[in-house]
């Protein structure tokens, strides 16, 4: 469906992407993970044909996305990372205009999506909140039943309940055979929908795996609070698990795939609470990044 092959683009000031390659198969939900500024949006801009690569190419169903950009767009639904609509319109007018430009009668699906995402489409765009713009953007990307939907940070600005609705929406479309490319800086967001994911860092793809593999590579920090301070000390000394920090009755452990061992060790002690802390992407895959760097 989508082939990104050796994509390279350098900007003034040293930023850019180098030799980015991955393939997204028909009917697959592909995650594109990376911290802010890693090159996710730059890659997506090339896929959309907004930029000409220095080297390499992107093709969608065999069509080059730069030289055949207007034909390629028939296959794509797109949600930009930073949404900007045309000024002086309301949501409904904008969506109708876009449907005219897309050349597809999508009024039925559009109405259904608006109802699903629960927003007032007649709100003027300049009065819309970030989340509301995001919803209009999602409708715009889905309404014309494209074969490939490209979403740049789709859930930013959405509340948790709407994030859930969004995930359901993606899974329904996937069941119909729609292909997705979804970028994110949050692993949990990708985890729930994607089959495979690529991790990009400083403009290079550092990992390309299916979701199960990524989940087992994932490094989580688990905070265990023991009933007794002595237990905490005892645990830290004897468990053999990598201790990140320790204080009074609290021990923080880095876990990477070895959940069973953690549970077994903990079972010997009285435990007051367990917390899994949220981490940024680099921390989650720190171990993995380190290995890569050492290998180079």
């Amino acid at each position: 469906m989508l082939i990104v092959d050796g994509l390279t683009k350098h900007f003034e000031g040293g930023k850019g992407i180098t030799d980015v390659s991955f393939t997204v198969n028909q009917g697959e939900v592909f995650g594109f993970l990376g911290p802010n500024g890693a090159g996710k949006s730059t890659t997506i801009r090339h896929i959309m044909g907004f930029m000409k690569p220095d080297k390499g190419h992107v093709s969608i169903k065999g069509l080059d996305s730069w030289s055949k950009h207007s034909e390629v767009q028939k296959l794509i639904g797109y949600l930009p990372g930073e949404i900007a609509f045309i000024e002086g319109m309301n949501g409904k007018e904008f969506l109708t205009f876009l449907a005219d430009m897309q050349g597809v009668d999508s009024s039925v699906k559009r109405a259904r999506l608006i109802e699903r995402l629960q927003f007032d489409a007649s709100t003027p765009i300049r009065k819309m909140s970030k989340g509301m713009k995001q919803k209009v953007g999602i409708v715009a990307a889905f309404m014309h039943d494209p074969e490939l939907i490209i979403l740049d940070e789709p859930t930013s600005g959405l509340d948790p309940l709407m994030q859930q609705t969004f995930i359901e929406l993606v899974l329904e479309e996937k069941a119909k055979g729609t292909t997705f490319l979804m970028s994110s800086h949050s692993f949990t967001e990708i985890e729930r929908t994607c089959d495979r994911a690529a991790i990009i860092k400083e403009g290079r793809v550092v990992a390309l795996n299916n979701m199960h593999e990524l989940q087992s590579m994932q490094r989580k920090l688990v905070v265990i609070v023991f009933e007794r301070n002595d237990d905490a000390k005892q645990f830290a000394l004897t468990s053999g698990l990598p201790i990140v920090s320790q204080g009074d009755s609290r021990v923080t452990i880095a876990v990477q795939g070895n959940y069973n061992e953690l549970i077994r060790r903990c079972a010997n002690f009285e435990i007051r609470s367990i917390d899994v802390t949220a981490q940024n992407l680099e921390d989650i895959f720190m171990h993995y990044y380190d290995q890569k760097e050492n290998a180079l």
Partner: protein, 270 residues
Amino acid sequence: MNLPLLKLMLKINMKGVSNYAFGSAFYIVIMFWLYPGIADNSGALNDLLASMPDGLVSAFNIQGGFGSMEAFISGEYYGLILPILLSIFTIMVSTGLMARLVDQGSMAYLLSTPTSRRRIAMTQASVLAFGLLMILLITTAAGYLGYFWFIGDRYEFDSSRFLLMNTVALALFIAIGGISFLVSSVANDEKKALGLSGAIVFGMFGLDMLGKISENVEWLRFASLFALYQPSEIASGGGNPLLSSAILLAVGIVAFAAGIVSFSKRDLPL
């Protein structure tokens, strides 16, 4: 051309176009209304003009004097107010049609539909050209209206010279529109596009004025498209307005084409 986009852009820009068009029409009607009072004293006013330095008179395009209606209107409107008005319109609209959409990012939506960049740019260019045409058509029509209302057969009025003045004005602003459109098409930043086209257009306007004030720096005018637009010469039947129009139109078409082509080939930071 893309029809939905054309419709939307005309709708968005129609208010601006009609504001400029009616402002311009109103002004020209007032000028026609004022003329009879001035014409009766034209002898005294022409003496006054004669007593002023030649350079200053020609810089403000009032050397035509007050002897005929078209001479009067060429000095009082076509020489200074109209070019300034249309320059502002052209700079604002050309920036709004391209650079603003790229700067804000809404161009991403236009490009995510199955329309080529070339067609989008052509549509936007035609909106600017259409706006200029509308303003000048309404201005010309208002001139005739003023003539029938206030002048009639009482004073001299050469209708073909008046039409030529409007034609050259349109050609001039197609050329200037083309240049601002080119600037707007290659800019990523709305403010930079606005600043650069403003500097180019008003720079050329200034060069033409300076060149006329002093013969020592007359060569400055060769760098200015405004040199090809001399309403007072046309009013007195001189100059070569058709050749000027042809050159200006050619410059305009080349500049618009360059804008469209460079937009369709460049990297967009969307």
